[in-house]
């Protein structure tokens, strides 16, 4: 375990730094690496300083934090539901967030209010799904999954409705939000705080999650207080997903693909997978956002398009290659 932990961090930490540097260097204007260094450690042109420090750095950090949160949330949800194909949006979270955000946009509220509405919508959906899945009996992963899928379908209908009745001028902004968009993220630091705190708190519980992955009865027989642990995972995963969605909109595939890919490479020890998913998600979203800014520069693509186009083939390949 120690070896794969060190290996994962040894690969992913430098890759994280590299992904942020790439995000700083590329865009509508390319900045050569020496110039990039001089922005931090010396004299640089005013244009480069503004571009790197005021525009690209906050955006890259926002993308990294949101990706990290989504990767972590995905890893947690997959253990909770004991299903390697679960994702952070399985509980209808992105749908609730989207409806909240679109309603705020329709009302012409500020970007801050849109984020706040998205957060409220995400939590509302979480409570709704959990309450319904709980019902009169005890909840099972299957029941939670099904409830989430159906509630998500309900949110989907509401999203279509809002799009249908919205004025045409609002539509591009709304569609970008729905597909995931980092361009309006300006203050990445709260999300970073959440990411660091949750990742550090999750680390010592990795072994507990390993045991939980073998089913609630087996876990209880090995001394895990199953119900409180499951509740905690549920609440934490919902909160960090809501935080990520608030930053970058409903970016898909990060939480699904990153933990799964890392599992195929580093094995199934949650003590490795949890921190690796945080870093891997951050790397993926940072690079995807850099591509989104670069491919048709100066125009920008929604980052969700890139994560899907990158993630789907990679995921299918790894799945095809695995036993």
């Amino acid at each position: 375990m120690t070896r794969s932990f060190l290996l994962a961090l040894g690969v992913l930490l430098p890759a994280s730094v590299l992904s942020v540097l790439v995000a700083l260097a590329y865009g509508s204007v390319q900045i050569p690496f020496p110039d990039l260094l001089s922005v931090f450690f010396g004299e640089a042109s005013r244009l480069h300083s503004t571009l790197v420090l005021d525009l690209r750095l906050p955006r890259a950090l926002a993308a990294f934090a949101a990706g990290g949160l989504l990767g972590l949330a995905g890893a947690l949800m997959q253990v909770l539901l004991r299903n390697p194909l679960a994702d952070p949006y399985v509980l209808g979270l992105s749908g609730g967030a989207s409806v909240g955000a679109l309603l705020a946009m329709l009302a012409g509220l500020s970007m801050f209010s849109v984020s706040a509405a998205a957060f409220v919508g995400a939590l509302l959906s979480t409570i709704l799904v959990f309450g319904l899945a709980h019902g009169t009996g005890s909840w099972t992963p299957t029941r939670l999954l099904l409830t989430g899928v159906v509630v998500a379908a309900g949110w989907g209908a509401m999203i279509s409705f809002i799009l249908a009745v919205s004025p045409t001028a609002e539509l591009p902004g709304m569609l970008y939000w729905l597909m995931g968009d980092v361009s309006h993220a300006r203050n990445p630091y709260p999300a970073w705080g959440v990411l660091v705190v949750v990742a550090l708190l999750a680390l010592p519980f990795g072994r507990t999650l390993n045991v939980l992955a073998r089913g609630p009865m087996q876990a209880a027989a090995l001394g895990v207080a199953v119900r409180p642990v499951e509740w905690t995972i549920y609440v934490v995963a919902a909160l960090i997903t809501a935080t990520a969605v608030t930053q970058v909109g409903a970016v898909g595939f990060v939480g699904l693909i990153v933990p799964h890919m890392l599992r195929l490479i580093f094995g199934n020890d949650q003590r490795v997978i949890l921190p690796a998913s945080a870093l891997g998600g951050g790397i993926l979203l940072t690079l995807a956002d850099t591509l989104a800014r670069t491919i048709i520069a100066p125009e920008q693509l929604p980052v969700g398009v890139i994560t899907a186009m990158l993630g789907v083939p990679v995921f299918l390949f790894l799945l095809y290659r695995s036993r």
């Binding site: 375990m1 120690t2 253990v79 004991r82 299903n83 390697p84 010592p204 519980f205 072994r207 507990t208 390993n210 045991v211 992955a213 073998r214 089913g215 009865m217 087996q218 209880a220 027989a221 090995l222 001394g223 895990v224 207080a225 599992r263 199934n268 020890d269 036993r323």
Partner: protein, 288 residues
Amino acid sequence: MPRTPPPAPAATQPHDTPGLGARSVHQEPGPKTLLATHDLVIDVPERPPGSPLDLTVDPGQCWGILGPNGAGKSTLLQTLAGLRAARAGTIKVKGQSIATLARAELARRLGLVFQTHHDGFPATVLETALIGRHPYLRPWDIESSEDYARARAALAAMDLADLEDRMVDTLSGGERQRLAIATVLTQDPSLLLLDEPTSQLDLHHQVAVLNRVQAIVGQENRGAVLVLHDVNLAARYCDHLLLLFPDGQACWGPTATMLVPSALERLYNQRLSVGEVDGLPVFLPRNE
């Protein structure tokens, strides 16, 4: 041998020794008692309470639970392990009520091997055996070389040493069952609760597993409770038996007093032929 199944033991005296009419001595729990239940009624849906169980498992004892399908054997075992709520009664493990014991502490005192095994995510044989150390490790602890040594010793005892790097989902049914037993051996609790530990094993491994259990029970302050379907193995390895009837009635006592053919025939609703091998009774189903 009676040709018709015998009448039921009187329901009012459930733990009378079956067929002999002599009441088995109720053992009071002592200071070293591993497991003691008082008026325990397990929760099998839509079943009358039947006989409340007053069981006492002391160090050095190996109990066998016999009964037909659906009699509640697994439910009883899981209730004893604190995984299911009982309908009534109390359970004490090493003198302390399981209601007040922390889960991890309970897992250091007793370990349970389930009948079926779920492996949510792929894992190796060694990783699976190692989770038996979980109750002993604090959140930040990483398995020490001693933990690895215990897991490897348990795997070796179950003839799995050569398979430690194999993925669990590639094991055969019998190998998977031996791995589950190796996991509980790694856990090393005072009281072993094994649910049909030999159901998927070949003859050699059935004997190997039960010999191992017997050896553990022979150590200081150890005991075991096994659910078995093989009366003959129970007769050879268990010193106490609990017969669980489908209607919730039960009787229990030392093995020699419990192996009454008429009671076993009623238990399984099956006529039996009785023989003797090595001075011990052998029961075979009679087809007529």
